[in-house]
């Protein structure tokens, strides 16, 4: 693999810094935006993060304090702060506990992230570099599935999970079971299966565009060296695709972790399988009596995606470097 001569990579169009007067409305707007002063940007940053900060401040205030005054009062009376809200929410024995539902959220988000990545990277490689019959039409079909909104398929899918799919033939009175009843209704499995399925079109589309853009010479060289498709995929394509895999993993994990609709439909009334999002929605209680727990619960829920983002961020940067420096 280290035998072939380095291929000069295309540097791409080079931006001319102030070389010629910028023309066109796009360039002008871009110029304006680029010249916005730092302090103004900081002001916008502060305005945008103020509500989140208020939520964070509220999460440390007691119920009566939250009801009596706004979060900014935290500055005047730091002695009124308390960790009780977090204790209530994280106490594994209490009825307002999030701990079980956090495990459920992991049980949903992890398979729903790994499975589409694994399947889509294989599929994207095949679409990009294996020349089989009907390849283009199959790809068009896959990508056009992007246009199908997940919402319209929810109830049919639920029916499928509840009772399977059966085809009754007229006249001969025979029922063929196409998909048996796996008894998946009300389980986390039903949720991640749905997420995994609906993530595939976008995952294939995204990964295909990246993988098909890898330099062709690399593949030719690998073939000459005697690599088969699996070796090329495993030793060449996957390492080069780490940045896009990480990007997709971040998106997919956040989407499934924060999902309410799919989980709500598929888990239904089974209290043992609800993820954190549904648990938090129920936390406020009748007439919002326990609303004071919501800020702390929201931060417990948000902590995990932030963690995932920062962990995968490392692969983002390293992957980019690994792609540019040939190993």
């Amino acid at each position: 693999m280290s035998e072939f001569t380095p291929v000069p990579t295309d540097p791409g169009p080079v931006r001319l810094e102030g070389g010629r007067p910028s023309k066109g409305i796009g360039a002008r707007i871009y110029g304006r935006i680029a010249r916005i002063k730092g302090p103004i940007l900081w002001l916008i940053v502060i305005l945008w993060s103020l509500p989140t900060f208020g939520l964070l401040a509220s999460s440390f205030r007691s119920r009566d304090a939250q009801r009596a005054s706004g979060w900014w009062n935290i500055f005047t009376g730091l002695n009124h702060t308390t960790l009780d809200n977090y204790r209530t929410v994280l106490n594994s024995k209490g009825t307002a506990s999030l701990t079980d539902s956090l495990l459920n959220s992991f049980a949903i988000a992890i398979p729903a992230t790994i499975i589409p990545i694994a399947m889509a990277s294989f599929a994207a490689y095949a679409f990009a570099w294996i020349d089989f019959r009907g390849r283009k039409w199959l790809f068009i079909l896959t990508v056009s599935l992007l246009a199908i909104p997940l919402q319209i398929a929810l109830i049919p899918l639920l029916q499928l999970f509840v009772s399977g799919a059966h085809l009754s033939l007229p006249f001969i009175h025979k029922t063929i079971t196409l998909i048996p009843d796996f008894n998946l209704a009300g389980t986390t499995t039903a949720v991640w299966l749905t997420h995994a399925g609906f993530a595939l079109p976008f995952a294939i589309f995204l990964l295909h565009n990246y993988i098909s853009g890898l330099p062709k010479d690399l593949f030719e060289a690998a073939r000459i060296d005697g690599a088969d498709h699996f070796t090329i995929f495993w030793r060449l394509v996957l390492p080069l695709s780490v940045p896009v895999l990480a990007a997709f993993a971040i998106f997919q994990f956040m989407w499934t972790w924060n999902d309410y609709l799919v989980a709500n439909t598929m888990v239904g009334s089974n209290p043992d399988a609800v993820p954190t999002t549904i648990r938090i929605a129920n936390l406020a209680g009748d007439f919002g009596r326990n609303e004071f727990l919501l800020p702390s619960a929201a931060f417990v829920q948000a902590f995990v995606p932030i963690l995932v983002f920062f962990i995968l961020q490392r692969y983002f940067v390293r992957g980019l470097l690994a792609g540019s420096v040939k190993g």
């Binding site: 398979p111 992230t113 109830i155 639920l158 991640w192 239904g268 209680g285 009748d286």
Partner: protein
């Protein structure tokens, strides 16, 4: 090139293993439990022909799942505790799960073929809808007999659809209450009003005296903003025109913009004038109805008309009806014609299947024993605080209720005219729609009562 790949693969493997562990754990437990459900159901349906009587019978671990909109710690916890204790004596494994969006989710679950065994309906209108669509089953004879024994028709009739009983009343909210602090009244020499004229005179006097405002009003409640206004309007219709007009109004036999209804709305808006009302959020529509408990407690207003569950909103440690300084008490929202009308609300349990186990649980939920055990449990969970729960079931031991709550029960039993919250019975497009939104516009002064009523009438489903 190799090391990042190895690391990435390692991370993937670890994550995948974790996922598999979590996944398989959940799945196996669910699979196991569904297995028992099937077995137990088979057993219990087989035995149902022989033992439909009240004799204690063992269901061999049958699972019964109940869902409903009540999801508070004390409520959901108390329902679970009481039903599970009772279920153990019958070999039933009962679970209650609260759901914030129950009214919407139950539709999806029924369509998807995945409803719970029992649902607790907060609105009789919704229950009737489900009954007519045959999604819920008529109650077995032993359940209806038990309802007859423990509930006055005033309450059970709302779950009777076209002559068939579908729902079991399980909870009663009393709405015709005014919360106040007796020592504040005493300090100023105000007297608790016993007629509506006395009430309006007292409001006028308090406003003229300056200082705290007579009333606290807030109608903000998220997507349900406006419901306290509908409650006030219903109270006024009931007081000014009596129960028959009220029924005609709810059933749309008289139009929504009938002069009587408009007059009731005008009376409410008149009472809610700027001089009379304190609203912590600046104006009535921007003030959460629950925030007013703090305002009343802080002495920013004298009175607050709100239902029995309102006790839960007062700051921790508030004393109720014990004569101490700062204690909070209630008086009956006074009437006009001497018929002591009360506005109530409540929940009804109905079965999505007619398995013997489901019907046995429904039968138990209709009893006074269930109501008083739930009350006792809920009080215990709140460390002796006011539970917010109330039941009009006949034959409860009143000592499980605290003095203030016993007062609620007294008001309920003394009333000769009891009506269920009208907006909960109207079609959802009005009762949970335009009555709230256009009512809010009227409160804001964007519409007159007449115009709001006209537009609500126009929005009534044909």
């Amino acid at each position: 090139m190799r090391s990042p790949l190895v690391k990435f693969a390692a991370v993937c493997t670890v994550l995948a293993l974790t996922a598999a562990a979590c996944g398989s754990d959940k799945k196996s437990s669910t699979a196991g439990s569904t297995g028992t459900t099937v077995k137990a159901t088979a057993g219990s349906t087989g035995g149902s022909t022989t033992a439909t009587g009240g004799a204690a019978k063992d269901f061999g671990g049958a699972k019964v799942l109940i869902t409903g909109p009540e999801r508070d710690d004390p409520s959901a916890g108390a329902i679970n505790a009481v039903l599970q204790t009772w279920g153990k004596t019958r070999g039933l494994d009962i679970t209650y799960a609260g759901d914030a969006d129950w009214e919407a989710n139950i539709n999806t679950q029924v369509q998807g073929g995945n409803p719970p065994d029992i649902g607790i309906f907060p609105q009789p209108g919704k229950l009737a809808e489900f009954a007519r669509a045959k999604s819920i089953k008529p109650l077995a004879d032993n359940v209806t007999a038990s309802i007859k024994k423990f509930w006055s028709p005033d309450y059970s009739n709302y779950a009777n659809v076209d002559g068939v009983q579908y729902g079991v009343p399980v909870k009663t909210d009393l709405k015709s209450l005014v919360w106040y602090q007796p020592d504040k009244f005493k300090a100023k020499g105000y007297k608790v009003p016993t007629t509506f004229d006395e009430f309006t005179a007292l409001v006028k006097k308090m406003a003229a005296d300056g200082g705290p405002k007579p009333l606290c009003v807030g109608i903000e409640s998220g997507t349900a903003t406006g419901w306290p206004f509908t409650d006030w309007t219903e109270e006024m219709v009931l007081r000014q025109d009596g129960g028959d007009v009220y029924n005609q109004w709810v059933e749309h036999k008289i139009s929504f913009n009938d002069p009587k209804i408009v007059k009731a709305m005008d009376t409410v808006l008149g009472l809610w004038s700027k001089d009379n009302v304190f609203a912590s959020g600046g104006n009535i529509a921007a003030t959460n109805f629950g925030d007013n408990a703090q305002a009343l407690f802080d002495g920013k207003c004298y009175m607050h008309r709100q239902a029995s569950f309102f006790s839960g909103f007062f700051p921790k440690g508030t004393k109720f009806a014990d004569g101490s300084a700062g204690a909070v008490d209630v008086f009956y929202f006074p009437d006009i014609n001497g018929d002591k009308p009360v506005l109530t609300a409540g929940t009804y349990a109905a079965g999505f299947n007619d398995k013997a186990a489901t019907m046995a649980v429904l039968e138990y939920m209709s009893t006074a024993d269930y109501a008083q055990k739930r009350q006792a449990e809920q009080t215990k969970l709140l460390n002796g605080g006011l539970s917010g729960f109330l039941s009009a079931a006949i034959g409860q031991d009143p000592s499980v209720y605290q003095p203030l709550e016993q007062g609620f029960l007294k008001i309920l039993s003394e009333s000769k005219l009891s009506r269920f919250d009208g907006s909960d019975q109207m079609p959802a497009a009005v009762g949970a729609g335009t009555f709230w939104t256009l009512g809010t516009s009227a409160v804001n002064g964007d519409l007159t009562a007449q115009k709001a009523a006209d537009q609500i009438e126009a929005s009534w489903p044909k």
